[in-house]
Symmetry: D2
Subunit: 219 residues, 4 copies
Amino acid sequence: MKLFAQTFFLAALFIAGMSITDQKKTRVVFFGDSITQQGVEPGGYIAKMKEDLQKKGVADKYELIGAGISGNKVYDLYLRLDNDVLMKLPDVVVIWIGVNDVWHKALLGTGTDADKFEKFYTAIIKKLQAKNIKIFLTTPAAIGEKTDNTNQQDGDLNKYSNIIRRLATNSNCSLVDLRKDFLSYNLKNNTDNKESGILTTPINSYLSATPFFVSLLSF
Amino acid sequence: MKLFAQTFFLAALFIAGMSITDQKKTRVVFFGDSITQQGVEPGGYIAKMKEDLQKKGVADKYELIGAGISGNKVYDLYLRLDNDVLMKLPDVVVIWIGVNDVWHKALLGTGTDADKFEKFYTAIIKKLQAKNIKIFLTTPAAIGEKTDNTNQQDGDLNKYSNIIRRLATNSNCSLVDLRKDFLSYNLKNNTDNKESGILTTPINSYLSATPFFVSLLSF
Amino acid sequence: MKLFAQTFFLAALFIAGMSITDQKKTRVVFFGDSITQQGVEPGGYIAKMKEDLQKKGVADKYELIGAGISGNKVYDLYLRLDNDVLMKLPDVVVIWIGVNDVWHKALLGTGTDADKFEKFYTAIIKKLQAKNIKIFLTTPAAIGEKTDNTNQQDGDLNKYSNIIRRLATNSNCSLVDLRKDFLSYNLKNNTDNKESGILTTPINSYLSATPFFVSLLSF
Amino acid sequence: MKLFAQTFFLAALFIAGMSITDQKKTRVVFFGDSITQQGVEPGGYIAKMKEDLQKKGVADKYELIGAGISGNKVYDLYLRLDNDVLMKLPDVVVIWIGVNDVWHKALLGTGTDADKFEKFYTAIIKKLQAKNIKIFLTTPAAIGEKTDNTNQQDGDLNKYSNIIRRLATNSNCSLVDLRKDFLSYNLKNNTDNKESGILTTPINSYLSATPFFVSLLSF
């Protein structure tokens, strides 16, 4: 089992732990971009979590709902928070956003300024916490898998991940630090310093709006 | 008197017309970017409007308030709408935004997607109209004054101005179409097809975050 | 017959006229980006010109050679001028470049400054004319087909086309003004102001590095 | 004495060593961007090197010439190589380029693709070596001084520095690895992880086309 799956496995356990005594199902909404949009497809990360829960015999205690849209940035999440998340009355929301906020700077000229990224992210957290919803924050994993800090967006991904880490601490949210996990995994397994192919598919540079990590499908 | 001043002169008259019978002062908030931030300075466009109102002997009927911040895009306005506008309980709000939404694509990689521009603009209008506030929408005037459609951002400025024009029609807001007025003025007065110097100062390309139209100061 | 085909038809006639008394074949190299790379494929614009020459019964008098590479900008042409053009000892070179010089500003952050575009273009012309090669310059046709000057790159495409027109005049090169021809054609035929589908295929924004005009295949 | 000065001090010694028996002066051209343009000004790095040579009593053996132009990228150097370098018949050329090739991606949309950066750099080296000119290659020092890999362009600066390091090895050029030296220096001296102020002046983001390191003036 790979690190990435383990990470979410732990998250799943955590979710399990918090709701073990509930009568009703725990409703979890995954809120993000294309990776989450793909996550509900066969082999996707949300589909995998459903299988994990089934294997543990607790599938009937959880409802996992995907709310990912390709190309989304943090303010897209903000704009559709009411309709796509709050109206579903979730107990838990997992937010996984940031790759496009960084990548679209070079790709379309419409990335998100770091300070605005934090402001909209904060606004989302506040609206969720006002409803007593449990929140997981996820750092953007990677745009390119080179391990020597030469991926074009490495600096910015580190910066925006730091913002998310700080938000998690200051807002008492749980953190799934995929950026850290991906880097650690690649330092061990990407010894040839490849651009892609270890945890992600070859990124056809500007050919895809968000990195679609097919390898997530094959854990 | 130049065209631009006339435009706002008409706007001022319009404002005057709507409130002539009011007992209390009509409070007008100008909501925008660096041009509006400069607008309250001596010679700025808001300062000039105050002078106009004084000349007409109706200065005591109006309170003109600047709420401009350099570098602002539409979602910056959205984020500070409550604190910087609604809390001031305005009767009228003049929104002048869009230059940075377009320009920051090339300048910083953090411009605003056209569809998000419209969404945030719409959200601002709705919140203002829910308070029965009269709204003026202003199109982004220019980034470069060439008259043969060769300024780099001409296509986008036209596109975003069309969005604003449509919003004005669909939302029953008044329109101050500065983009149209600037182009008309330049077609007559910029016969040498100069980059700048007619209605704007020389734009030092990336040296300034928003075009600071000093000529606005000298009507 | 559509306008675009007519334009090249005239060019073909021109080529024909200049070499009608030659004994040897007139060798024409088409030097450009993905449109030219596709041009030699069945239905491509170079393939169509070959058919035209055959219909006129003069196919044995011409050798049409494609030298297009997807994603190329003017300095890519400069870097491969010796190997891909001069070594083929052409009589005529048709240069069609510029879309990526403009588009890659927004797409990758690696477009070409206007002044450098002119410098490298000039250097190419000088090296070709030093070998007494006849040169045709072609303006970049379009990135988006909207007819109201609201395509994002319209301003820049007009600017870079003006550079090419000036170079043609000053360097005594022939001009194939496809930008002008495309606009004229669209003003008549794109009355719904569509984004694409008249002379170009739907441009999937950042999904393709250069606009691949499939409609060129169907004249 | 700071590290940076030491680096060039060693370079100066190296230059001294190679020409100690020459009768004529050793002519050194510094070829680069705004940092080099400023380098000849009082307190600039070239001016400092002249002082070093004077202190060692060997000033009459060297002629140091600045050939820096603000905003230059690698292909600007290529375009003016003949006029600004070769015509001066130098014995040694110090090339310091790359910051704008990276930075202008975000700043103007006209950065340089990594593969083209290498091609033009290689072309420059070949033309210089064909004249038996001794070459020093310098890596781009920094855009931002944060030491935790969160400066926006860190990934790209590392990537382009790796290209320069590889070129130095493969082309038998000397390397002045300022990127490495700056990082090492900052890891020791920038313990608060500041954005600027240690080896560089505050970078006003897009307010300057190239980072103008005033601190270079004060060693």
